[in-house]
């Protein structure tokens, strides 16, 4: 029974493989193959042009023991992740909660809140450089209306990362929609029962909404964390020299990889860093998966 496919099944199988062949070719050439190549390259002194000698774990030793920039970039990135993920998560839930009350004009508000998400790239970074200008920028001008003298943002090493976080929070549309649609699918009966008990808005939010959408919060945190860990373009365009200044405060992990790979052509070393990044991202996901058992609310019989 198991062996030997019928003629029809064989034909089906051939058609199936033919249909997915674009992806298979892409996977081999652009994902799977490159993964193996960069794993091998990480054990060599590959420089793209002349040499690719096996040097064992020397790149990894250099990374952990001899490259202070590596630790600095890792620290900067962690700082950014720990600031950006909770900030955008909280703001997205807040906006979704407001939208979920379905007051007048909700569709328009939803569209406006989502708009910045489709905008990205150099034009947006350039705009934020203007917004964050210490004297004439919009942010500090608005703060001045409230009598607050704002920091000099992108020029002050202590404020560069909060600057980028602000920009990220501006574009939180994807998370917001995720939360909104999961809030929509929470059973109305739960709220009605709570209403009968005279629960306040905040009580309902804490006791019903939050537990019910916790699987989505969990999903959003993972995707946001892995995404924030790969912060790169903003730092390249918005730091003064494209190298993460002032004071190396925007020197993120991927910027360091980019610099090693494409300005110094230390491809072997950059590959080792890239593989370490892969390990970090996988670890984040696994830790989150393990931790989710303890705090994510799931219905009985649902996985």
């Amino acid at each position: 029974m198991k062996r030997g496919m019928t003629k029809r099944e064989k034909k089906e199988a051939r058609a199936g493989w033919l249909f997915i062949s674009p992806w298979v070719i892409g996977f081999i050439c652009l994902t799977g193959g490159p993964l193996l190549f960069s794993l091998y390259a990480s054990f060599t002194n590959y420089n793209m042009t002349s040499r690719m000698d096996f040097i064992g774990v020397a790149n990894y030793i250099r990374m952990f023991k001899k490259d202070p920039v590596f630790w600095k970039s890792l620290g900067n990135t962690l700082y950014y992740v720990l600031l950006a993920v909770p900030a955008s998560c909280v703001c997205a839930i807040f906006l979704a909660t407001l939208l979920n009350r379905k007051v007048k004009g909700t569709p328009v508000f939803r569209m406006l809140f989502y708009l910045p998400t489709v905008l990205s790239g150099v034009a947006v970074y350039q705009l934020w450089i203007q917004l964050l200008a210490p004297q004439s920028g919009l942010v500090n001008s608005v703060l001045r209306l409230f009598g607050i003298e704002g920091p000099s943002w992108l020029a002050d090493p202590a404020w560069t990362k909060p600057s980028l976080v602000m920009m990220r929070v501006w574009a939180l549309g994807t998370s917001m929609l995720l939360y909104l649609s999961s809030m929509n699918s929470v059973s109305k009966d739960l709220y009605e029962a709570a209403d009968i008990d005279g629960a306040t808005f905040l009580q309902k939010f804490r006791k019903i909404t939050l537990p019910q959408i916790s699987p989505i919060i969990f999903f959003d945190i993972i995707t946001n964390m892995t995404g924030a860990f790969q912060v790169f373009q903003e730092a390249l365009v918005m730091s003064k020299n494209g190298k993460g200044d002032p004071a190396g405060s925007l020197l993120f992990y991927n910027l360091h990889i980019y610099d090693e790979a494409f300005t110094r052509y230390n491809m072997g070393y950059a590959s080792a860093m890239a593989w370490f990044l892969l390990v970090i991202v996988m670890t984040i996901t696994l830790i989150n998966l393990a931790a989710s058992k303890y705090w994510v609310h799931t219905e009985e019989g649902e996985t």
Binding site: G16, W23, L95, A123, L131
Partner: protein
């Protein structure tokens, strides 16, 4: 028991109604404040683009341009090869859309509607590839394209678009899975091949999902910065993103020109988004369905 409960609810109704109205008003005010915050940066961009240099350096800043200089847009556009870069961006985006629709809908059909050995494990691999950071494959891909002699051409930007993307494959497969198998089986009874079914039945039926692929492919291609940065070397071949970066480094203090150019770069996306908003947000919702 039931009777008393009922009267209690009725008694509390008016005060509850008033409370609801207050809450709704607070909610509306908060939404309006948030909308203002979100829109202010864009307003600032347009307003700066219309100011003359004197007004840009006035302090405290003016909240709207007192003497709007509309020619700033034209002057900024003319001061660099924006027309060429614009056309280049359109060219690349066109292929991104074409490749995105063709490859992803074919692959997704294969996974959704054809039974073949290895299907499930391959689909798990597709989902797994979504986790791989771009930077891990970036270096080997660069080496590959350099060996092929593709650096400096559009090929590294275009060819991968014809090999499908995990995100779209997943999204379209979900959509196809919702189309009943009986539709396909009856077509097969009539002797239709899978290709024919994909072309004549599936593509038309999946139009909303395909539209999502179109708008998102356009959006991502238009905003793409890293690939053009790595692979385009000749100024005449630059896309808008890279061109704008060159323009920035050349016109340091001409903020009005900078903002005018930024406006024009963002305008196509804004227009497409305003017209086809539904398809953008549908895609994001489907993406959220990864959690299942």
């Amino acid at each position: 028991m039931r009777g008393t409960e009922h009267t209690v609810i009725k008694g509390g109704l008016t005060s509850r109604k008033r409370k609801k109205r207050i809450l709704d008003t607070v909610c509306f005010i908060l939404l309006a404040a948030a909308a203002l915050t979100v829109l202010m940066p864009l307003w600032f961009m347009v307003s700066t683009a219309l100011k003359d240099m004197d007004e840009i350096f006035t302090y405290p800043i003016t909240w709207y341009p007192h003497n709007p200089v509309w020619s700033n847009f034209k002057d900024a556009w003319m001061s660099a090869d924006f027309t060429g870069w614009f056309l280049n961006s359109l060219f690349v985006a066109g292929f991104a859309i074409l490749g995105g629709v063709l490859a992803n809908s074919l692959v997704a059909y294969g996974f959704a509607k054809i039974k073949f050995p290895g299907r499930n494990i391959l689909f798990t691999i597709i989902l797994g590839t979504m986790m791989i950071p771009e930077f891990v494959t970036m270096i080997p891909q660069y080496v590959l394209y350099a060996r092929l002699g593709w650096v400096g051409t559009y090929l590294p930007l275009i060819v991968p678009q014809f090999m499908g993307s995990a995100y779209f494959i997943f999204m379209l497969r979900q959509f196809y899975a919702g189309i009943p198998n009986s539709v396909i089986e009856s077509a097969q009874m009539d002797g239709a091949s899978h290709f024919c079914i994909w072309r004549k039945i599936m593509l038309p039926m999946a139009k909303p999902a395909i539209m999502t692929v179109v708008v998102l492919s356009f959006n991502w291609s238009w905003n793409d910065f890293l690939k053009p940065l790595l692979y385009l070397t000749d100024t005449a071949r630059f896309t808008l993103q890279i061109g704008l970066k060159i323009f920035v480094s050349q016109s340091n203090t001409q903020w009005n020109y900078l903002m005018a150019a930024s406006c024009i770069v963002l305008l196509p996306i804004i227009v497409v988004f305003m017209c086809l908003q539904k398809y953008f947000t549908d895609g994001m919702n489907l993406g959220g369905a990864v959690k299942g």
